[in-house]
């Protein structure tokens, strides 16, 4: 079959020594970044982009490294959830519910081993899903015209707004910030400078990298200064990380269900690892929690969210690669990174840059295997990072961010701009605005405008053209639905209360 032929080509790329080393580095760093509370996949990927760029890696190698950090972080997040009751990243919040009680009962090693296995199964199943679905979706999306693309991007913003934050209005405002930033620079159509205020530095547009690192690393540092759990862990001994076959088998169906749920939720724009793990957990609780042991250290309560959050990471790659429309902050950052390497994801990527997509997919099979090995016997090493003091970690993140931006741009102006964006991002978070929509807006802004203008150039200015085809009409309806659903749910909830 064609898919297997392509996948074999991908393995030829992924098995090159450089790419193997990068997949390992990504998996290792990802686990480390995931293990640290406060710093999640999006921060880690943002900090590593400039390094990948400055190394002049080929795009597929850079993507292999950055994606490794992304799905590796979903493995690492569980470590502090289980040991400290503090989630290592957003996808591991649910893992605290049963993971920490298991640790309190002296079953920490078992919980770590079981969650590593669940992560591996969830991760691998979702790569299989990616292998099978992505080419099909790309084949279907190849017929998308500018009107469909514009509607698709609107859909991505509205679902992200309704699912990602508590307040959809603030999430939408955040996306508008990103779109506004994207309009700075020379206009793609006429070449006219817009919002540059005579500043030549702004003609090329706002640098994606500077914004990504400012938003996700510098603002994170300012948030971390308010929190004290970093480095508060006492030295913890994790002696044996084993789980008996009996316990593993008793959770097998939970893991499989969690993986499938996680994958499909990951594919949806806007819904990522955190929603996937929550849905998987509540599903299992409803289905199998007959004795009411969920929440008191039930192994299935650890397996379900861990399988789901790793599966979601693979699922989230599907729209990013095949449509060029990411559905989460981290995949938006990955998309921005790809664009820096002059690769434009979308339905054509399977024909134009097969080495990039298939190399990445193949490397994800390998990376998940590496992560299983890293996270079973070596989990104690990663647990030790939780004892690194806060006073060292915070300036270390700062230094890495500055070095990264400096290595790519060599300019003190960009460092100041990054600091400014960091302060802006911090204030946004304080006032309840999610950051992911803003980075999505910045990454998609250009495409969104170009597609809108193309669509109206085709129709000669008739706005009705945007709603003509059945696909775009369906996307508009879904957008409206996703936007108004939260309001309706709130109304309904109030009416009943």
């Amino acid at each position: 079959m064609d898919v297997w032929h392509q996948l074999a080509g991908g393995f030829a790329v992924a098995l090159l020594p450089l790419n193997l080393a990068l997949a390992f580095a990504g998996a290792f760093l990802g686990t480390l970044i995931g293990a640290l509370p406060g710093i999640g996949p999006v921060n880690g990927v943002a900090i590593l982009i400039p390094i990948a760029y400055a190394l002049k890696l080929p795009p597929e190698s850079a993507l292999i490294l950055l994606a490794g950090v992304y799905y590796g972080a979903e493995y690492g997040g569980r470590i502090s959830s289980i040991l400290l009751n503090v989630p290592g990243d957003a996808g591991a919040v649910i893992t605290t519910l049963d993971g920490y009680p298991m640790a309190q009962r002296g079953r920490a090693g078992e919980a770590l081993a079981l969650s590593a296995l669940s992560s591996f199964i969830g991760g691998t199943l979702s790569v299989i899903g990616l292998t099978l679905f992505a080419p099909a979706l790309a084949g279907w999306a190849i017929r998308f015209g500018p009107a469909e693309y514009f509607a698709l991007m609107v859909f991505a913003f509205t679902t992200l707004a309704s699912l990602a934050g508590k307040d959809p209005v603030k999430a939408l405002i955040s996306s508008v910030f990103g779109l506004m930033l994207a309009t700075v620079g020379l206009d793609p159509g006429s070449g006219l400078p817009r919002f540059t205020f005579g500043e030549l530095k702004l003609y090329d547009g706002i640098d994606f990298l500077v914004v990504a690192i400012g938003l996700f690393a510098i603002s994170e540092v300012l948030v971390l200064m308010e929190q004290s759990f970093l480095g508060s862990a006492r030295q913890m001994r994790v002696t044996s990380t084993r789980v008996s076959l009996m316990v593993f088998l008793s959770t097998l169906w939970t893991i499989l269900r969690g993986s499938v749920i996680g994958f499909f939720i990951g594919v949806l724009p806007g819904a990522g690892a955190s929603i996937a793990s929550a849905v998987a957990y509540t599903t299992e609780k409803r289905l199998v929690d007959r004795e009411g042991t969920f929440g008191q250290g039930d192994p299935r309560g650890v397996a379900a969210p861990e399988a789901a959050n790793n599966a979601a990471a693979g699922g989230a790659m599907v729209p990013m690669l095949t449509l060029g429309v990411p559905g989460s902050g981290t995949t938006a950052v990955l998309l921005g990174a790809l664009m820096m390497f002059n690769v434009t994801p979308g339905p054509m990527i399977f024909q134009q840059r097969p080495e990039v997509v298939w190399g990445l997919i193949a490397s994800m099979y390998i990376g998940n295997l590496m992560l299983l090995v890293l996270n079973l016997p070596l989990v104690g090493v990663f647990a030790r990072i939780l004892t690194v003091p806060r006073w060292f970690l915070i300036p270390a993140i700062v230094t890495l961010s500055f070095v990264g931006v400096y290595a790519v741009n060599n300019s003190a102006f960009d460092l100041l701009f990054m600091t400014g964006i960091g302060v802006w991002g911090y204030l946004m978070r304080k006032f309840g605005f999610p950051l992911a929509p803003m980075i999505l807006g910045l990454v998609l802004g250009h495409l969104m405008e170009v597609n809108l203008r193309r669509a109206l150039a085709i129709s000669g200015g008739d706005v009705g053209f945007l709603f003509q085809s059945p696909i775009s009409l369906a996307l508009w309806l879904l957008s409206a639905l996703s936007l108004f659903l939260p309001f309706l749910v709130v109304r309904f909830g109030r009416g009943r209360a």
Binding site: S190, R194, W391, F392, A412, L415, G460
Partner: protein
């Protein structure tokens, strides 16, 4: 007054300013009916509507506090100084100072912070320059 209402008013001003800037741009023509102006105007209108929503329907007031503002301001100021000193002082010295300063605010002693900063920056320097081949500033104030 709720914090959200303030934020809403600020965003309202931002939307108006952005919209006015956009209005000065060229309008479209036959082959490109929207031109460079329409998309920014659309964004301005969307932000205008959303910020009005925030002004008139602010979320239930959750107090926004800044318990660590002194340290945060100091750290932000140190970022600015660090950006400016990176080139003249060189990566290792500037980073040592930056790490020591931030660490001091987070409760470590000057000596501890400086030692950690020196070790960390030296290690990073060696990895970047000799391991990865990415140049970092050596410093302009030192005799070559």
């Amino acid at each position: 007054m709720r914090a959200d209402r303030f934020v809403g008013l600020f965003l309202l001003a931002l939307a108006l300013w952005y919209g006015l800037e956009a209005k000065g741009l060229e309008a479209g023509y036959l082959a490109d009916p929207l031109g460079p102006r329409a998309f920014p105007l659309l964004l301005s209108a969307v932000l205008l509507g959303l910020s009005l929503f925030m002004v008139f329907r602010p979320a239930a007031g959750v107090g926004v506090g800044f318990p660590a503002w002194k340290g945060q301001l100091a750290v932000i100021a140190s970022f600015v100084v660090y950006s400016e000193l990176l080139l003249p002082l060189g990566f290792v010295l500037a980073t040592t100072l930056e790490v020591a300063f931030v660490a001091r605010w987070l409760g470590a002693s000057w000596g501890k912070g400086a030692a950690a900063g020196f070790g960390f920056s030296l290690a990073l320097y060696l990895i970047f320059v000799f391991g990865l081949g990415i140049p970092l500033p050596l410093g302009q104030w030192w005799p070559a």
